[in-house]
Symmetry: C2
């Protein structure tokens, strides 16, 4: 089935999500070990500090299994700007509109938290071309590019969307 009709969204975090997030992020083969570590760290922060951590989550579940997740939160010292820090979908479940559903769920929660502006950072490397096209399809536009920010030849591309 090429639909996401059998997907349920959950935003309450569970201790088991620590391993699930690690598995999903690793399974995409898009991130270095230090980046995987950062993804897991945000789960730890949330589990330890609750909402005060500033990290919010959306989990997409299919038949009781976590198929993907998004992590986002308010940006310190701003009135209504949020970062969408992470979005990842298990490789065998990609191409079903799940990423899109996760972005929409994140935006729904961000609106509920008073957010009006969403920023997403991603890499300018060729292998991230599908990622960048995906954000454009979700209504995001490039607002700035910081050359070589991540590493030589690896620009930081800042996407932005104003929530309606």
């Amino acid at each position: 089935m090429n639909t996401s009709a059998d997907i349920a969204m959950r935003h309450r975090i569970e201790p088991e999500d620590r391993d699930r997030v690690r598995q999903i992020v690793e399974s995409t083969a898009m991130f270095r070990p230090d980046e995987v570590g950062v993804a897991v760290e945000l789960v730890d922060e949330r589990l330890a500090k609750g909402e005060a951590s500033g990290y919010h989550f959306a989990f997409a579940e299919r038949a009781g299994e976590v198929a993907g997740y998004a992590c986002f939160g308010p940006i310190a010292c701003t009135i209504a700007s949020f970062d969408l820090y992470w979005i990842a979908v298990a490789p065998d479940l990609q191409g079903r509109g799940l990423g899109r559903r996760l972005v929409e769920e994140a935006e729904r929660q961000i609106r509920a938290l008073g957010g009006q502006r969403v920023y997403i950072d991603t890499s300018g490397r060729p292998q991230y071309e599908p990622t960048r096209r995906f954000y454009e399809r979700c209504g995001y536009a490039v607002q700035a590019v910081l050359p070589e920010f991540y590493a030589p030849g690896d620009d930081r591309v800042i996407f932005f969307k104003r929530l309606g």
Copy 2:
């Protein structure tokens, strides 16, 4: 005396720096209470976790008193990029080249930590015009502007310098 010859630099942090940082940041009258809170939080993180916090400091001392400070650190998921998070000088000691000395000390430490690229975020509001000119005099250039990032009418201006 209009020089900074009597200034000593210290980068080892002390528990007393928590109150000193709060006092200096508040005394500049440039920051909202939530921003002051963030400045103090970075000191707390450093005191609790040491270098693992990712926050490094330079303190400028004059006659045994802290006259200003800078806070900086490596940016996660980058190879050699650093953020200069905070720089503040007590109002009665401004105009003596102390800010400049603090930026240079931060850059020296950043180089020693393997950093090659330094980013500074600041506001596009008129009251930050002297701050922006100061960063330009220190060799930084605007690399991106994110309109209304902080609040309506309050852009985020990203300055950048490549360390030689």
